[in-house]
Amino acid sequence: MAEISQDTGSHKKGKKKRAKKLPTRIDLTPMVDLGFLLITFFMLATSLIKPQTMEITMPSDKKVQDEDKTVAKASQAVSIILGKDDIVYYYFGKTEGAKVLKTNYAPDGLRKILLEKNFEVAQQVEALKAEKIRTRMKEEDYQKKLSALRANKNAPVVRIMATDESNYKNLVDVLDEMNICSISRYAIVDLEEPDKQLIANLTP
Protein backbone atom coordinates (compact mmCIF):
# COMPACT_ATOMS: atom_id res chain seq x y z
CA MET A 1 0.00 0.00 0.00
CA ALA A 2 2.25 2.69 -1.25
CA GLU A 3 1.75 6.38 -0.91
CA ILE A 4 -0.16 8.22 -3.50
CA SER A 5 2.15 9.91 -5.96
CA GLN A 6 1.91 13.60 -5.41
CA ASP A 7 4.51 14.76 -7.86
CA THR A 8 2.28 16.95 -9.90
CA GLY A 9 3.70 19.98 -11.47
CA SER A 10 7.41 19.49 -10.72
CA HIS A 11 8.20 18.00 -14.07
CA LYS A 12 5.79 19.99 -16.08
CA LYS A 13 8.38 21.90 -17.95
CA GLY A 14 10.62 18.96 -18.66
CA LYS A 15 12.30 18.83 -21.99
CA LYS A 16 10.82 15.61 -23.12
CA LYS A 17 7.12 15.28 -23.13
CA ARG A 18 6.44 12.08 -21.33
CA ALA A 19 3.28 10.13 -21.73
CA LYS A 20 1.11 10.98 -18.79
CA LYS A 21 1.02 8.11 -16.35
CA LEU A 22 -2.52 7.28 -15.38
CA PRO A 23 -2.81 6.37 -11.74
CA THR A 24 -3.71 2.74 -11.28
CA ARG A 25 -5.18 3.48 -7.94
CA ILE A 26 -8.94 3.46 -7.53
CA ASP A 27 -10.77 5.29 -4.83
CA LEU A 28 -12.28 2.56 -2.72
CA THR A 29 -14.42 4.77 -0.48
CA PRO A 30 -17.72 4.02 -2.26
CA MET A 31 -16.88 0.33 -2.15
CA VAL A 32 -16.41 0.56 1.60
CA ASP A 33 -19.68 2.44 1.86
CA LEU A 34 -21.41 -0.29 -0.03
CA GLY A 35 -19.79 -2.96 2.12
CA PHE A 36 -20.97 -1.40 5.32
CA LEU A 37 -24.41 -0.76 3.96
CA LEU A 38 -24.76 -4.44 3.20
CA ILE A 39 -23.40 -5.39 6.60
CA THR A 40 -25.97 -3.16 8.25
CA PHE A 41 -28.69 -4.75 6.21
CA PHE A 42 -27.63 -8.26 7.09
CA MET A 43 -27.26 -7.44 10.74
CA LEU A 44 -30.77 -6.08 10.90
CA ALA A 45 -32.54 -8.54 8.66
CA THR A 46 -31.09 -11.73 10.04
CA SER A 47 -30.76 -13.35 13.39
CA LEU A 48 -27.64 -15.00 14.60
CA ILE A 49 -29.11 -16.92 17.47
CA LYS A 50 -31.28 -19.81 16.63
CA PRO A 51 -34.19 -20.22 18.98
CA GLN A 52 -33.87 -22.83 21.67
CA THR A 53 -36.33 -25.60 21.90
CA MET A 54 -37.59 -27.96 24.49
CA GLU A 55 -38.57 -31.38 23.34
CA ILE A 56 -41.53 -32.96 25.01
CA THR A 57 -43.31 -36.17 24.41
CA MET A 58 -46.91 -36.41 25.36
CA PRO A 59 -48.76 -39.66 25.71
CA SER A 60 -50.84 -40.19 22.64
CA ASP A 61 -54.50 -41.09 22.87
CA LYS A 62 -54.07 -44.48 21.34
CA LYS A 63 -51.64 -45.83 23.89
CA VAL A 64 -52.99 -47.45 26.94
CA GLN A 65 -52.38 -44.99 29.68
CA ASP A 66 -53.19 -47.28 32.57
CA GLU A 67 -49.78 -48.88 32.73
CA ASP A 68 -48.19 -45.46 33.06
CA LYS A 69 -50.60 -44.53 35.76
CA THR A 70 -50.21 -47.53 37.95
CA VAL A 71 -46.44 -47.68 38.17
CA ALA A 72 -46.23 -44.61 40.32
CA LYS A 73 -45.94 -45.52 43.95
CA ALA A 74 -47.57 -43.16 46.36
CA SER A 75 -44.24 -42.42 48.01
CA GLN A 76 -42.77 -41.26 44.75
CA ALA A 77 -45.68 -39.28 43.46
CA VAL A 78 -45.47 -35.54 43.36
CA SER A 79 -48.35 -33.50 42.06
CA ILE A 80 -47.82 -29.97 40.92
CA ILE A 81 -50.73 -27.71 40.21
CA LEU A 82 -50.12 -24.45 38.44
CA GLY A 83 -52.35 -21.77 39.81
CA LYS A 84 -52.94 -18.20 38.90
CA ASP A 85 -50.53 -15.33 39.58
CA ASP A 86 -47.49 -17.61 39.41
CA ILE A 87 -48.46 -19.67 42.44
CA VAL A 88 -47.63 -23.35 42.46
CA TYR A 89 -49.51 -25.82 44.62
CA TYR A 90 -47.95 -29.14 45.29
CA TYR A 91 -48.46 -32.22 47.34
CA PHE A 92 -46.87 -35.62 47.76
CA GLY A 93 -48.54 -38.96 47.49
CA LYS A 94 -52.18 -39.63 47.00
CA THR A 95 -54.80 -37.05 46.27
CA GLU A 96 -57.08 -38.14 49.10
CA GLY A 97 -56.22 -36.33 52.26
CA ALA A 98 -53.16 -34.71 50.76
CA LYS A 99 -51.63 -31.74 52.42
CA VAL A 100 -51.39 -29.08 49.75
CA LEU A 101 -48.57 -26.61 50.02
CA LYS A 102 -47.90 -23.41 48.16
CA THR A 103 -44.70 -22.28 46.54
CA ASN A 104 -43.45 -20.27 43.58
CA TYR A 105 -41.12 -20.56 40.59
CA ALA A 106 -38.12 -19.00 42.29
CA PRO A 107 -34.95 -21.11 42.60
CA ASP A 108 -35.57 -21.62 46.30
CA GLY A 109 -39.20 -22.48 45.70
CA LEU A 110 -40.22 -25.34 43.49
CA ARG A 111 -36.68 -26.27 42.52
CA LYS A 112 -35.59 -26.77 46.08
CA ILE A 113 -38.53 -29.03 46.78
CA LEU A 114 -37.98 -31.11 43.69
CA LEU A 115 -34.27 -31.40 44.30
CA GLU A 116 -34.89 -32.62 47.81
CA LYS A 117 -37.32 -35.16 46.51
CA ASN A 118 -34.95 -36.22 43.79
CA PHE A 119 -31.85 -35.92 45.95
CA GLU A 120 -30.27 -39.22 45.01
CA VAL A 121 -30.45 -38.73 41.25
CA ALA A 122 -29.59 -35.06 41.39
CA GLN A 123 -26.42 -35.86 43.29
CA GLN A 124 -25.39 -38.55 40.85
CA VAL A 125 -26.03 -36.24 37.93
CA GLU A 126 -23.97 -33.57 39.60
CA ALA A 127 -21.12 -36.04 40.04
CA LEU A 128 -21.42 -37.12 36.44
CA LYS A 129 -21.19 -33.52 35.27
CA ALA A 130 -18.03 -33.02 37.28
CA GLU A 131 -16.61 -36.22 35.88
CA LYS A 132 -17.43 -35.10 32.37
CA ILE A 133 -15.41 -31.95 32.80
CA ARG A 134 -12.54 -33.74 34.51
CA THR A 135 -12.17 -36.62 32.10
CA ARG A 136 -13.33 -34.79 28.96
CA MET A 137 -15.98 -37.38 28.42
CA LYS A 138 -17.52 -37.64 24.99
CA GLU A 139 -20.91 -36.04 24.64
CA GLU A 140 -22.66 -39.22 23.58
CA ASP A 141 -21.21 -41.21 26.47
CA TYR A 142 -22.33 -38.50 28.80
CA GLN A 143 -25.84 -38.52 27.41
CA LYS A 144 -26.00 -42.28 27.72
CA LYS A 145 -24.90 -42.22 31.34
CA LEU A 146 -27.19 -39.34 32.06
CA SER A 147 -30.26 -41.09 30.79
CA ALA A 148 -29.26 -44.21 32.70
CA LEU A 149 -29.09 -42.20 35.89
CA ARG A 150 -32.36 -40.50 35.20
CA ALA A 151 -34.14 -43.80 34.76
CA ASN A 152 -33.66 -44.48 38.45
CA LYS A 153 -36.58 -46.49 39.80
CA ASN A 154 -36.74 -44.50 43.00
CA ALA A 155 -36.92 -41.15 41.31
CA PRO A 156 -40.10 -39.21 41.82
CA VAL A 157 -42.92 -39.28 39.34
CA VAL A 158 -44.37 -35.88 38.76
CA ARG A 159 -47.84 -35.04 37.60
CA ILE A 160 -48.16 -31.56 36.22
CA MET A 161 -51.60 -30.10 36.22
CA ALA A 162 -52.42 -26.63 35.07
CA THR A 163 -55.44 -24.66 36.03
CA ASP A 164 -57.11 -22.47 33.46
CA GLU A 165 -55.76 -19.39 35.17
CA SER A 166 -52.15 -20.32 34.61
CA ASN A 167 -50.28 -19.27 31.50
CA TYR A 168 -47.85 -20.80 29.08
CA LYS A 169 -44.81 -19.43 30.86
CA ASN A 170 -45.78 -21.33 33.99
CA LEU A 171 -45.92 -24.54 32.04
CA VAL A 172 -42.55 -23.98 30.41
CA ASP A 173 -41.07 -23.01 33.76
CA VAL A 174 -42.21 -26.24 35.32
CA LEU A 175 -40.95 -28.32 32.42
CA ASP A 176 -37.69 -26.46 32.77
CA GLU A 177 -37.52 -27.34 36.45
CA MET A 178 -37.97 -30.99 35.51
CA ASN A 179 -34.94 -30.62 33.31
CA ILE A 180 -32.89 -28.86 35.93
CA CYS A 181 -33.79 -31.32 38.64
CA SER A 182 -33.10 -34.31 36.36
CA ILE A 183 -36.58 -35.68 36.67
CA SER A 184 -37.34 -37.81 33.69
CA ARG A 185 -40.69 -39.18 34.69
CA TYR A 186 -43.31 -36.52 34.44
CA ALA A 187 -46.53 -36.02 32.63
CA ILE A 188 -48.81 -33.16 31.87
CA VAL A 189 -52.25 -34.26 32.85
CA ASP A 190 -55.63 -32.64 33.06
CA LEU A 191 -56.78 -31.12 36.27
CA GLU A 192 -59.41 -33.35 37.73
CA GLU A 193 -62.18 -32.73 40.17
CA PRO A 194 -60.47 -33.99 43.37
CA ASP A 195 -57.48 -31.78 42.70
CA LYS A 196 -59.69 -28.81 41.95
CA GLN A 197 -61.39 -29.44 45.25
CA LEU A 198 -58.09 -29.45 47.09
CA ILE A 199 -57.20 -26.03 45.77
CA ALA A 200 -60.65 -24.66 46.34
CA ASN A 201 -60.36 -25.72 49.98
CA LEU A 202 -57.07 -23.93 50.26
CA THR A 203 -58.20 -20.62 48.85
CA PRO A 204 -61.47 -19.63 50.42
Binding site: M31, T46, E55, I56, A162
Partner: protein, 202 residues
Amino acid sequence: MPKAKVKRKSTWVDMTAMCDVAFLLLTFFMLTSNFTKKEPVLVATPTSVSEIKIPETNIMTVLVDKTGKVYFGIDGQDKRRQLIEKMASIYKVNFSPEEMKKYTLLELTGNPMQAMKAFLNLPAESRDLPQNNLGIPADSTNNEFKDWVKSAREVNPELRIAIKADEKTPYPVIKKVMRSLQQLDESRYNLITKLEGAPGRE
Protein backbone atom coordinates in the same frame (compact mmCIF):
# COMPACT_ATOMS: atom_id res chain seq x y z
CA MET B 1 18.39 30.13 8.30
CA PRO B 2 15.43 29.66 6.11
CA LYS B 3 12.38 28.42 7.73
CA ALA B 4 11.85 24.74 7.19
CA LYS B 5 8.96 24.26 4.89
CA VAL B 6 6.28 22.14 6.44
CA LYS B 7 5.59 19.50 3.96
CA ARG B 8 1.93 19.26 3.18
CA LYS B 9 0.80 15.81 3.80
CA SER B 10 -1.84 14.31 1.68
CA THR B 11 -5.16 13.69 3.37
CA TRP B 12 -5.68 10.63 1.27
CA VAL B 13 -6.22 7.47 3.24
CA ASP B 14 -5.86 4.12 1.71
CA MET B 15 -9.28 2.51 1.76
CA THR B 16 -8.24 -0.93 0.59
CA ALA B 17 -7.79 -2.31 4.08
CA MET B 18 -11.07 -0.84 5.25
CA CYS B 19 -12.77 -2.36 2.27
CA ASP B 20 -11.27 -5.73 3.08
CA VAL B 21 -12.57 -5.57 6.62
CA ALA B 22 -16.02 -4.52 5.49
CA PHE B 23 -16.36 -7.37 3.08
CA LEU B 24 -14.90 -9.86 5.50
CA LEU B 25 -17.58 -8.93 8.00
CA LEU B 26 -20.19 -9.02 5.31
CA THR B 27 -19.19 -12.52 4.34
CA PHE B 28 -19.27 -13.57 7.97
CA PHE B 29 -22.76 -12.24 8.50
CA MET B 30 -24.04 -13.73 5.29
CA LEU B 31 -22.75 -17.16 6.13
CA THR B 32 -23.56 -17.40 9.81
CA SER B 33 -26.95 -15.82 10.04
CA ASN B 34 -30.30 -16.91 8.86
CA PHE B 35 -33.10 -14.61 7.92
CA THR B 36 -35.61 -13.82 10.56
CA LYS B 37 -38.94 -15.24 9.63
CA LYS B 38 -41.68 -12.78 9.24
CA GLU B 39 -44.29 -13.35 11.85
CA PRO B 40 -47.69 -11.77 11.88
CA VAL B 41 -47.52 -11.04 15.58
CA LEU B 42 -44.70 -10.37 17.96
CA VAL B 43 -44.37 -13.22 20.38
CA ALA B 44 -42.23 -13.17 23.51
CA THR B 45 -41.27 -16.76 24.11
CA PRO B 46 -40.57 -17.92 27.65
CA THR B 47 -37.04 -18.71 28.72
CA SER B 48 -35.60 -22.09 29.52
CA VAL B 49 -32.25 -23.72 30.16
CA SER B 50 -32.71 -26.10 27.28
CA GLU B 51 -29.93 -25.77 24.74
CA ILE B 52 -31.28 -27.88 21.94
CA LYS B 53 -31.38 -25.91 18.73
CA ILE B 54 -34.32 -26.12 16.45
CA PRO B 55 -33.63 -27.58 13.00
CA GLU B 56 -34.02 -25.17 10.11
CA THR B 57 -35.94 -27.24 7.65
CA ASN B 58 -38.97 -29.49 7.85
CA ILE B 59 -40.65 -27.51 10.53
CA MET B 60 -44.28 -26.80 11.02
CA THR B 61 -44.71 -23.81 13.21
CA VAL B 62 -47.68 -23.32 15.44
CA LEU B 63 -47.67 -19.79 16.68
CA VAL B 64 -49.93 -18.83 19.55
CA ASP B 65 -50.15 -15.19 20.48
CA LYS B 66 -51.04 -13.50 23.75
CA THR B 67 -54.73 -13.33 22.97
CA GLY B 68 -54.87 -17.01 22.09
CA LYS B 69 -55.02 -16.78 18.32
CA VAL B 70 -53.44 -19.74 16.58
CA TYR B 71 -51.32 -19.36 13.46
CA PHE B 72 -49.95 -22.13 11.35
CA GLY B 73 -47.30 -22.46 8.69
CA ILE B 74 -44.80 -24.86 7.19
CA ASP B 75 -41.54 -24.18 5.45
CA GLY B 76 -40.87 -24.52 1.75
CA GLN B 77 -42.92 -22.72 -0.87
CA ASP B 78 -43.73 -25.78 -2.95
CA LYS B 79 -44.84 -27.60 0.18
CA ARG B 80 -47.06 -24.70 1.13
CA ARG B 81 -48.64 -24.81 -2.29
CA GLN B 82 -49.56 -28.46 -1.86
CA LEU B 83 -50.84 -27.69 1.61
CA ILE B 84 -53.18 -24.94 0.53
CA GLU B 85 -54.45 -27.09 -2.31
CA LYS B 86 -55.29 -29.83 0.16
CA MET B 87 -56.96 -27.44 2.55
CA ALA B 88 -58.93 -25.86 -0.29
CA SER B 89 -60.28 -29.22 -1.31
CA ILE B 90 -61.21 -30.15 2.26
CA TYR B 91 -63.04 -26.91 2.90
CA LYS B 92 -64.27 -26.48 -0.65
CA VAL B 93 -62.83 -23.05 -1.10
CA ASN B 94 -61.85 -22.07 -4.60
CA PHE B 95 -58.61 -20.17 -4.66
CA SER B 96 -57.45 -18.51 -7.83
CA PRO B 97 -53.85 -19.20 -8.89
CA GLU B 98 -52.88 -15.71 -7.71
CA GLU B 99 -54.33 -16.38 -4.27
CA MET B 100 -52.46 -19.66 -4.08
CA LYS B 101 -49.30 -17.83 -5.01
CA LYS B 102 -49.92 -15.27 -2.29
CA TYR B 103 -50.39 -18.03 0.24
CA THR B 104 -47.12 -19.72 -0.67
CA LEU B 105 -45.29 -16.50 0.06
CA LEU B 106 -46.63 -16.28 3.61
CA GLU B 107 -44.70 -18.02 6.37
CA LEU B 108 -47.59 -18.14 8.79
CA THR B 109 -51.28 -17.54 8.48
CA GLY B 110 -53.96 -17.49 11.08
CA ASN B 111 -57.43 -17.39 9.64
CA PRO B 112 -60.35 -19.77 9.34
CA MET B 113 -60.62 -21.18 5.84
CA GLN B 114 -63.79 -19.20 5.16
CA ALA B 115 -61.97 -15.96 5.79
CA MET B 116 -58.79 -17.02 4.02
CA LYS B 117 -59.80 -15.84 0.57
CA ALA B 118 -60.56 -12.35 1.78
CA PHE B 119 -57.37 -12.35 3.81
CA LEU B 120 -55.20 -13.27 0.84
CA ASN B 121 -56.71 -10.48 -1.22
CA LEU B 122 -55.80 -7.86 1.36
CA PRO B 123 -52.92 -5.56 0.52
CA ALA B 124 -49.70 -6.87 2.02
CA GLU B 125 -49.32 -4.04 4.54
CA SER B 126 -52.69 -4.59 6.19
CA ARG B 127 -52.30 -8.36 6.58
CA ASP B 128 -50.61 -8.06 9.93
CA LEU B 129 -53.36 -6.01 11.51
CA PRO B 130 -54.96 -7.87 14.41
CA GLN B 131 -58.48 -7.51 13.05
CA ASN B 132 -57.44 -9.30 9.87
CA ASN B 133 -56.06 -12.31 11.71
CA LEU B 134 -58.82 -14.20 13.40
CA GLY B 135 -56.79 -17.21 14.38
CA ILE B 136 -57.31 -20.79 13.30
CA PRO B 137 -60.20 -22.40 15.17
CA ALA B 138 -58.95 -25.22 17.40
CA ASP B 139 -62.01 -25.97 19.52
CA SER B 140 -63.41 -29.40 19.98
CA THR B 141 -66.42 -28.62 17.83
CA ASN B 142 -64.79 -26.55 15.13
CA ASN B 143 -61.24 -27.70 14.72
CA GLU B 144 -59.60 -26.50 11.53
CA PHE B 145 -56.22 -26.66 13.20
CA LYS B 146 -56.32 -30.44 13.15
CA ASP B 147 -56.93 -30.42 9.42
CA TRP B 148 -53.99 -28.12 8.91
CA VAL B 149 -51.69 -30.42 10.84
CA LYS B 150 -53.05 -33.50 9.15
CA SER B 151 -52.71 -32.01 5.66
CA ALA B 152 -49.23 -30.73 6.42
CA ARG B 153 -48.24 -34.19 7.58
CA GLU B 154 -49.53 -35.66 4.34
CA VAL B 155 -47.62 -33.10 2.30
CA ASN B 156 -44.38 -33.65 4.13
CA PRO B 157 -44.15 -36.61 6.51
CA GLU B 158 -40.83 -35.44 7.90
CA LEU B 159 -42.22 -32.31 9.45
CA ARG B 160 -41.49 -31.65 13.08
CA ILE B 161 -43.88 -29.66 15.13
CA ALA B 162 -42.68 -26.53 16.85
CA ILE B 163 -44.98 -24.65 19.15
CA LYS B 164 -44.09 -21.05 19.64
CA ALA B 165 -46.33 -19.40 22.13
CA ASP B 166 -46.25 -16.16 24.02
CA GLU B 167 -45.42 -16.49 27.68
CA LYS B 168 -48.66 -14.78 28.64
CA THR B 169 -50.85 -17.10 26.63
CA PRO B 170 -53.55 -18.50 28.89
CA TYR B 171 -53.20 -22.22 29.46
CA PRO B 172 -56.60 -23.28 28.05
CA VAL B 173 -55.45 -22.24 24.57
CA ILE B 174 -52.28 -24.29 24.89
CA LYS B 175 -54.37 -27.15 26.17
CA LYS B 176 -56.59 -26.94 23.10
CA VAL B 177 -53.59 -27.06 20.80
CA MET B 178 -51.99 -29.92 22.71
CA ARG B 179 -55.25 -31.80 22.81
CA SER B 180 -55.68 -31.46 19.06
CA LEU B 181 -52.17 -32.75 18.49
CA GLN B 182 -52.76 -35.59 20.88
CA GLN B 183 -55.87 -36.63 19.01
CA LEU B 184 -53.83 -36.74 15.83
CA ASP B 185 -51.31 -38.96 17.55
CA GLU B 186 -48.65 -36.31 17.22
CA SER B 187 -47.05 -36.86 20.56
CA ARG B 188 -43.60 -35.42 20.02
CA TYR B 189 -43.16 -31.75 19.58
CA ASN B 190 -40.88 -28.89 20.40
CA LEU B 191 -41.64 -25.87 22.47
CA ILE B 192 -39.65 -22.91 21.29
CA THR B 193 -37.99 -20.99 24.09
CA LYS B 194 -35.29 -18.43 24.60
CA LEU B 195 -32.13 -19.27 26.43
CA GLU B 196 -32.39 -18.30 30.07
CA GLY B 197 -30.69 -15.00 30.66
CA ALA B 198 -30.34 -14.27 26.99
CA PRO B 199 -30.37 -10.62 26.01
CA GLY B 200 -33.70 -9.16 25.12
CA ARG B 201 -35.36 -10.84 28.00
CA GLU B 202 -38.24 -9.02 29.55
